[in-house]
Each structure stands twice: as structure tokens, then as C-alpha cells.
């Protein structure tokens, strides 16, 4: 694409109203993993857990088998949803919007294999991340902070004020109990209850909110600020039956707090958390930290200062409109400079998605691609650390990782990936004229960026192959698995 073409493409991509290609909507509506109500999934999850315990109790199952069966009814849906995500990324016409949705999911990472997040992850993406990926950063931050998936993942769901009374919690969960006589505080049953109840504030989410989601590790906050944030967010939790956000007034710390020099007076409720999040969203450290991550994503592993400055300026002028910030980065000189073009190595995720997209491969069972991605070292939704996946080549480039990419490329190009159909005829004609074949591959797969050395190596290799279709599959496999395609 010529530069003007790229500019027009970027403008069009940023102009889409929201993440989610309308052309795909009918297709997606059929998916059980999208259709099943959250409450039903949670009920099934609880049921599966009970059944596993009962089965194991009967002594029938070995522990490993037990755990596997316990996860099974939901695992299928989780895999279907992961497959859907890959299909969207590889097939959507709204490519940039999908890239941004993935960027924000990674920025506000949630680990699918932690307990209820197996179920809650879908709503997190469908309701918090995707609808806000092209909106304002403030709306996105508030949506993630209120999301049950995040509250569960970083333990805020069990963060309660020091000395909060579990009897109040029970009364809230089971309204009928309110009319019953409350057990005395020194009742031995209360001791049991207390051991099972969360005790005191949990700083986990508060710490990551400041360090990862907003200000950044050098953003100028202290341990006291973390404690303040944790206290302000006590009571932000979820209803474990419906999977909806729930503010537990009984668990909220009503004392006075201070964060970054701002006073939060005594007696505050849920609204003081919202005030805090708005304050964090508009903080200069946040603008700098998040802009720098966007520049690292789109421009270079070590983001150039100029890019960050452009992004921060757009942030200030637009009030944190993500479209404007991204546009400033993609229009900026750093994005176009020769040192940036092709400077970044694709992550395994980017590699798989771009290969499938380049070949126009159709995944009848995208699960196969999900499994491949795991084998390449970046299993979808499976980053356990709240940092999300790293963005730098040192984290992704290793000998075993590159060999795995070569194998993936050859399997994909030669149609050996189960459940994934590749029609090379639609892409490049099979021809005995290997020069013309390489021209076509260069233009279709590498946008004209094939190096002469690459061309020569592929030509040498396929020279000995008499069959035109075999030579084509080999050439496509080598091109996808070779070094040129590993660069963004």
C-alpha cells in the first residue's frame, strides 16, 4: 500500500463506530458461548464443582481426571469463545478496532483460568473492553474497574473494611436471615464464619490499578496511596449468582482517606471510588504511561519520545479520546520513519492472526488455531500475570519459538492444520514460472517487502520440485515461516 493509501485506510479504520464487524453479527449470534446467559454459566460452574467433589468422594476418580471433568462443560465454551476471538481478529474488516480491543484486554489483563473468570471473561470482553476500546480512556477504566472479571481476578471482590461484620454480609446475601435472631458475636459458629470470610482490605487490585492500569510504576505514588485506593474500593464486588457488579455497603470503609494528596472525606460510598478512577484517568502520569505503551505497540519496542509527546498532546486536547490518541500516533513521523518500519517482531499472537489473515484461511474449527497459539507460547486469555503479555522482541524471539513458527507456517500453507481450510488458488496461481510465483507471494503476503535474499533462498528450494502445486505450497510455507514475515 502506498503511504496515501495507508493513511486513508487508517482513517477509515478509526472511523468505525464500535468494535465488532456488523457483517459478522449473524454468524456470531449462533454461538452458544455468546448466547448462554451468565447466570446459567455460573450455575453450571457451581454444579460442575459439586459434582466433581461428589465423584471424588465416591473414590471413583483420580484427582487429575476429576479436575479435568470438572472444567469440561465450561471448557468447551471457553475454547469456542477463544476461537471466536481469533476468528474476529483474523477475519474482521475492522482490523484496527480488533487490534485495539486486544491491546486494551492485554493492558487490563485478566487470567481466564482463575476460578470464576472461566465464566466471567466473556462478559469482560463483550461488555467492558470491546464497547469501550474506541471511546474515552476514562470510560474504559471505569468499565474494567466495575467488571466482575477484574474484581475477581485481582481479589478486590473479597476486599472488605477492617473489622467489617460478616453477619451483615450474610444478611445481604440471604435476606430471610434478617428476620432471624443473629448469632451472638462470641458464638462458636461465628468463629468458623470469620475464618471463611475475607478479612480486611486486599491491596492487590489497588496496586495494579496504579502500577499497571494508570500511573505506571514510576508514576509518583506511594504505599500509602495504595492503601488509600484499596480502602476506597472496599465493597466493590460481584454477585456470584448473576455475575453482575455489586457494591457491598457493609464491606465499605467509611473512614476518611487520602490518595495523591486528594482528600476523600469520611462517610463516602461507592461514588468516591468513581471519583478516584476519574482522577486517575485524567492524571498526567496516566497519559504518559498509557501513551508510551501504545507507542511501544504501534511504533517500536522502545517508544520514541516524539511519539509519546504527540499522543499525550492528543490525549489532553481530546479529553482522552482513544481514537484521537491513536490517530496522532499513526499520523506521527515516528510511525513512518525508516527506523520504525519493520522494526518490530510479531508476537506469536500477531504472527498467527496475520498468517491466517494473509492466507484468507477459513477456520471451521478455530479451536485448532487456539491450540496452535498455545503451542507457540502465547495461549489466548492465559497470561496469569496482571502485566499482560510483554511487547518486546526479547520476550518472544528464541530458538524454539522460531522453529515452532516455521512448523506452523508449513502446516498452515500445506493445508495440514486440522479444521482450517486454505485455498491457495484464490491467493496465488500455481505456475511453473517460479519467478512469477514469487512475485505474487511477495505482493500478497509481504506487501512487497520480500528481501532479495529471501527470494533467492525460496527459489533455490523449490527449483527441484516438479509439481507446481507442491512448489507453491512450499514457497508460501517458507515465506510465512521465514524472517520477513516475522516483522510487523
Amino acid at each position: 500500500m502506498a503511504a496515501t493509501g495507508v493513511v486513508r485506510w487508517i482513517e477509515a479504520q478509526l472511523a468505525v463506530p464500535a468494535v465488532g464487524d456488523p457483517a459478522r453479527r449473524d454468524l456470531e449470534r449462533q454461538l452458544t458461548s455468546l448466547r448462554t446467559p451468565t447466570g446459567e454459566l455460573l450455575a453450571r460452574e457451581a454444579e460442575a464443582r459439586r459434582a466433581a467433589v461428589a465423584r471424588a468422594d465416591s473414590g471413583a476418580a483420580r484427582p487429575d481426571a476429576t479436575r479435568m471433568r470438572q472444567a469440561n462443560p465450561l471448557r468447551e465454551l471457553a475454547v469456542e469463545y477463544a476461537g471466536l476471538t481469533l476468528t474476529r481478529q483474523a477475519g474482521s474488516g475492522h482490523q484496527l478496532a480488533e487490534v485495539l480491543a486486544d491491546f486494551w484486554f492485554n493492558h487490563f489483563n485478566v487470567f481466564q483460568n482463575k476460578g470464576l473468570d472461566r465464566v466471567l471473561l466473556r462478559d469482560y470482553l463483550e461488555q467492558a473492553i470491546r464497547p469501550n476500546a474506541l471511546g474515552t480512556f476514562e470510560a474504559l477504566l471505569l468499565a474494567t474497574a466495575r467488571s466482575p472479571a477484574m474484581l475477581f481476578y485481582l481479589d478486590n471482590a473479597q476486599s472488605v473494611a477492617e473489622g467489617a461484620d460478616p453477619r451483615d454480609a450474610l444478611a445481604q446475601r440471604f435476606p430471610a436471615m434478617r428476620n432471624r435472631r443473629r448469632p451472638a458475636a462470641n458464638d462458636p459458629r461465628m468463629e468458623q464464619l470469620r475464618q471463611r470470610m475475607p478479612q480486611g482490605p486486599n491491596e492487590n487490585y489497588a496496586r495494579e490499578l496504579l502500577e499497571l492500569h494508570t500511573l505506571g510504576v514510576d508514576g509518583g505514588y506511594t504505599q500509602d496511596d495504595i492503601v488509600g485506593v484499596a480502602r476506597i474500593l472496599t465493597g466493590w464486588s460481584l454477585d456470584r449468582r448473576t455475575g453482575a457488579f455489586q457494591f457491598n455497603a457493609w464491606a465499605h470503609d467509611r473512614g476518611e482517606k487520602a490518595v495523591l494528596g486528594q482528600r476523600f472525606p469520611a462517610g463516602g460510598g461507592r461514588e468516591e471510588g468513581e471519583r478516584l478512577l476519574r482522577m486517575l484517568a485524567a492524571h498526567p502520569s496516566t497519559m504518559h504511561h498509557v501513551s508510551s505503551k501504545l507507542c511501544a505497540k504501534f511504533v517500536a519496542d522502545v517508544p520514541p519520545d516524539g511519539c509519546i509527546d504527540d499522543a499525550v498532546r492528543a490525549w489532553q486536547q481530546s479529553g482522552g479520546e482513544i481514537r484521537e490518541v491513536v490517530a496522532a500516533i499513526l499520523r506521527g513521523p515516528d510511525f513512518w520513519s525508516p527506523t520504525s518500519v519493520g522494526a518490530k517482531v510479531k508476537s506469536p499472537h500477531e504472527f498467527v492472526v496475520s498468517a491466517v489473515r494473509a492466507l484468507g484461511a477459513e477456520a471451521a474449527r478455530p479451536q485448532a488455531l487456539v491450540a496452535q497459539l498455545a503451542r507457540l507460547g502465547q495461549p489466548l486469555f492465559q497470561q496469569s500475570a496482571p502485566t499482560g503479555w510483554p511487547e518486546t522482541q526479547e520476550d518472544w524471539v528464541s530458538s524454539a519459538a522460531l522453529l515452532a513458527r516455521m512448523n506452523f507456517a508449513v502446516d498452515l500453507a500445506s493445508g495440514r492444520m486440522p479444521g482450517v481450510r486454505v485455498d491457495l488458488d484464490r491467493l496465488v496461481p500455481a505456475t511453473a514460472d517460479h519467478g512469477a510465483l514469487l512475485d505474487a507471494i511477495d505482493s500478497v503476503l509481504l506487501a512487497g517487502a520480500m528481501q532479495p535474499t529471501t527470494r533467492r533462498a525460496i527459489l533455490d528450494e523449490i527449483a527441484a520440485l516438479p509439481d507446481a502445486a507442491a512448489a507453491r505450497a512450499m514457497a508460501v510455507g517458507l515465506a510465512l515461516g521465514g524472517p520477513d514475515f516475522q516483522r510487523q
Partner: protein, 413 residues
């Protein structure tokens, strides 16, 4: 820093040696690794995922509370293998008893993390990152060790290897490390079965011609690794000295680690998972769930030490688990998440035959929060002592950051 180091080493001595199919290459690599007359040392890390009940592995027979709190799952006294007056091995760990008798097995009791989390996910994370209660650490302590301690002339692709489909957190980070599912299939899958590595050659010339920087050096490392594996062919080395590995996934991992060690390819840190320890229900005693898992563990380790024989002088096995289990059995014949557990250090250079670690006692007032075996040895101190005593780590500053080490247990020297 890592990049330039790796690029430099590629272009340096190792790069020269590894070009071409030098038949002496393997021997020379082994010689280079030996440094000053000693062969390279290997540390084998085994992660018992799921939180193993340390009280069932190294049973505190001398503590009356063990018998009082575990009426259903305590192990029959007659079956236990006494170690000293206080502790005994689980009967299914019998294959490890000869190692104890020969002074090669050092169990450490009451090891654990300062973190109070009872979540498997968090606790495993902390044990692998080496930074308890700090979630933002992205790399693992073993990778940081490898990155900080360069062995002279020994930049081999096999320095840090995990056996399994994915690299575990403990080996993740900036230093090169490999995840190998199977030594026999590592590399580019050839379409043809006639042994002609033409696809491998095609990709190699592609990367030699067109790749730059880290991609070029990593690819070259990969093709070196393929060649080294082809020359040394560790995957087809039979077990020696009558060793017989269990056919389990873990047994196969242990056999492959032994094969790689015997091939002298510079393996310094090896890793394997051994799961199935989350015994909330029907844990069993001398027989049953945990006994079956211990059986697999002990038979694989025993086969490994038999197979390696004298080479065990250069090898140490370290077992670990994210936490231990409750002192008192629960209502379903199992145990719930606890705090401290037992770990094992096994090797020819280990001062074994003694149970290490201060025993805190199982009486309610001696327990952590009244429920769990208290931690008397921070896992970072145990891991650090193994790194120092076995691998000769010069400094642990970057490996377990922010931790002030306790006096060593005395496992080595």
C-alpha cells in the same frame, strides 16, 4: 544487554565451533563446559503442582499431633520407612530410601513462602518468580540466575530446558531457554520421512540470508541445537545400569533430562512438572491417591539416579510445591490448603541422610494461624543455598531480589 551479549556470543568462539558438522564438536563443547577440569553442573527442578502434603512425604512420626489430627489418613506405622527418631518416608517413597542410606537425599521440612495466599495460582506464581506477594515480576528466578551467571564459552541452546509443551514461569525471561516436548521431534518437521533434512536446510539458508539481530542469532542457535541433537542423538540413548523409568509423562521427562545430561550439551537448569497433589478428597494413606502419585515420583527419580550413576556427583534434584496442606484432615478424607510443606534435595554432592529445617511442631499453638505447619525455612533460602552450593552462584541479589538470606542449612560442602 541480553541482545548484545547473545549476538556477541554467536559471533564469538561458539559460533565458529558450531559451523559445519565438526565431529569433534560435541567433545569440544563438553571440554569447554568443563572449565577448570570439572564437568558442568546441572540442577533439576521438579514442581509438584497442586500443593503436596509434605506431612505424607516426610512423615513426622515423632509428633503426637500427627496421629491425633489424622485418624483417617495417617500412614500405618508398620509401613513407614524410618529415617530418624522423628521422621519417616512414605512407604511408596521406598525407591528413594537407598538414596537416603547413601547420604544423597536431604529432605527439608517446613519449607514455604512468606506469602499467606492459599491460592494455587498466586502461590505457584510467587514460587516461580521468586518474589512472594509481588505479582508484577514477569520473569522467573531460574531465568534470572542463568542471565546473571554466564558460564565462560558455554552459550549453548540447552543451558535452560523445560520438558513440556510450554516454558514455565520459572524459566521465563531474557536468557535463552527452551521448552522441549520430545527430544526426538525437536526441530523443523520434515515432510519426507527419508531422513533428508531439506526443509531444515531451506529455512536455515533463509534465516542466514535475510534475518538480522536477535531473530538471526536465535534462529542460528535453533539450527545449532538441531544439529547438536542430531549428532549427539540423546533421544535414542538407552537407560543405563538397569534403570527402568515409569511410562508416565513425568517418567518420560526424567528420562529425557538424563539423556540430555549424558549428551554433554551444557544443560545447566532442567525443569519438569509433576502434578496431581491437590488432595482435598480421599487422599488416602499408605495406599490411595497420594500414594499413587508418590509412587510415580519416587520411581522416576530413582530410575534417574540409577541411570546417571556417577554423574549424580554433578547433578542435584530439587523438588518444590506452592504450599503444603492442613495439619488436620477434613471431613472428606482429604486435606485442605495449608502453609509449609516438605521439599527434597537429592544429589551426589548433597550432605544427605539428615532431615533439614527446624521442626516447628504440630501442636495447635505451634501452628501457623492455629491450623497449618508453620514455615521455618523460606523457600528462597533453600533455592538460594542450592544455587550457591551446587551451581556456585556468586551472588543472589538479582535472583531473589529484596531478600536478606538466612544462614545456610548446610546442605553442601
Amino acid at each position: 544487554m541480553t541482545i548484545s551479549r547473545r549476538v556477541f556470543l554467536r559471533a564469538g568462539a561458539f559460533g565458529l565451533v558450531s559451523l559445519g558438522a565438526d565431529p569433534l564438536f560435541v567433545d569440544r563443547a563438553a571440554y569447554a563446559l568443563g572449565g577448570r577440569g570439572t564437568r558442568g553442573k546441572t540442577l533439576v527442578l521438579l514442581f509438584q503442582r497442586g500443593a503436596v502434603d509434605g506431612l505424607s512425604m516426610v512423615v513426622p512420626t515423632g509428633d503426637a499431633w500427627y496421629w491425633r489430627e489424622r485418624s483417617r489418613i495417617a500412614i500405618d506405622r508398620q509401613q513407614l520407612l524410618a529415617l530418624d527418631g522423628t521422621f519417616a518416608l512414605h512407604p511408596r517413597l521406598a525407591p528413594l530410601k537407598p538414596l537416603w542410606d547413601r547420604g544423597m537425599l536431604a529432605p527439608v521440612q517446613a519449607v514455604g513462602s512468606p506469602s499467606l495466599t492459599r491460592s494455587h495460582f498466586d502461590a505457584q506464581d510467587y514460587m516461580e518468580s521468586g518474589t512472594p506477594d509481588r505479582k508484577s515480576t514477569t520473569d522467573g528466578w531460574a531465568n534470572r540466575y542463568v542471565a546473571a551467571h554466564d558460564r565462560e564459552h558455554a552459550e549453548t541452546p540447552f543451558r535452560a530446558v523445560a520438558f513440556g509443551p510450554q516454558l514455565p514461569r520459572v524459566l521465563a525471561g531474557s536468557a535463552p531457554s527452551l521448552a522441549i516436548d520430545d527430544l526426538r521431534t525437536f526441530g523443523v518437521r520434515e515432510a519426507r520421512r527419508d531422513g533428508d533434512a531439506r526443509l531444515t536446510r531451506a529455512f536455515e539458508s533463509l534465516y542466514q540470508g535475510s534475518a538480522t539481530g536477535l531473530v538471526a542469532s536465535s534462529a542460528a542457535e535453533g539450527f545449532d541445537a538441531i544439529r547438536m541433537l542430531k549428532d549427539a542423538d540423546p533421544g535414542n540413548r538407552p537407560a543405563e545400569h538397569g534403570a527402568s523409568y515409569p511410562r508416565s509423562r513425568f517418567g518420560q521427562s526424567m528420562q529425557q533430562i538424563a539423556q540430555l545430561i549424558k549428551a554433554d550439551l551444557g544443560l545447566q537448569v532442567a525443569f519438569a512438572d509433576v502434578g496431581g497433589w491437590d488432595t482435598h478428597v480421599n487422599q488416602g494413606g499408605g495406599e490411595g491417591q497420594i500414594a499413587t502419585r508418590l509412587d510415580d515420583l519416587a520411581r522416576a527419580i530413582s530410575a534417574f539416579t540409577t541411570d546417571l550413576d556417577a554423574r549424580m556427583l554433578d547433578v542435584v534434584i530439587l523438588t518444590m510445591s506452592e504450599f503444603g496442606r492442613r495439619v488436620r484432615e477434613n471431613g472428606t478424607g482429604g486435606t485442605d490448603h495449608g502453609h509449609a510443606t516438605a521439599m527434597m534435595v537429592i544429589g551426589g554432592g548433597v550432605r544427605g541422610g539428615t532431615v533439614y529445617g527446624r521442626w516447628p511442631g504440630l501442636a495447635p499453638e505451634q501452628r501457623h494461624e492455629g491450623r497449618d505447619l508453620a514455615v521455618t525455612t523460606d523457600f528462597r533460602d533453600l533455592f538460594g543455598e542450592v544455587l550457591t552450593g551446587h551451581l556456585g552462584a556468586a551472588s543472589l541479589d538479582g535472583v531473589v531480589p529484596g531478600h536478606r538470606p538466612a544462614p545456610p542449612l548446610g546442605l553442601f560442602g
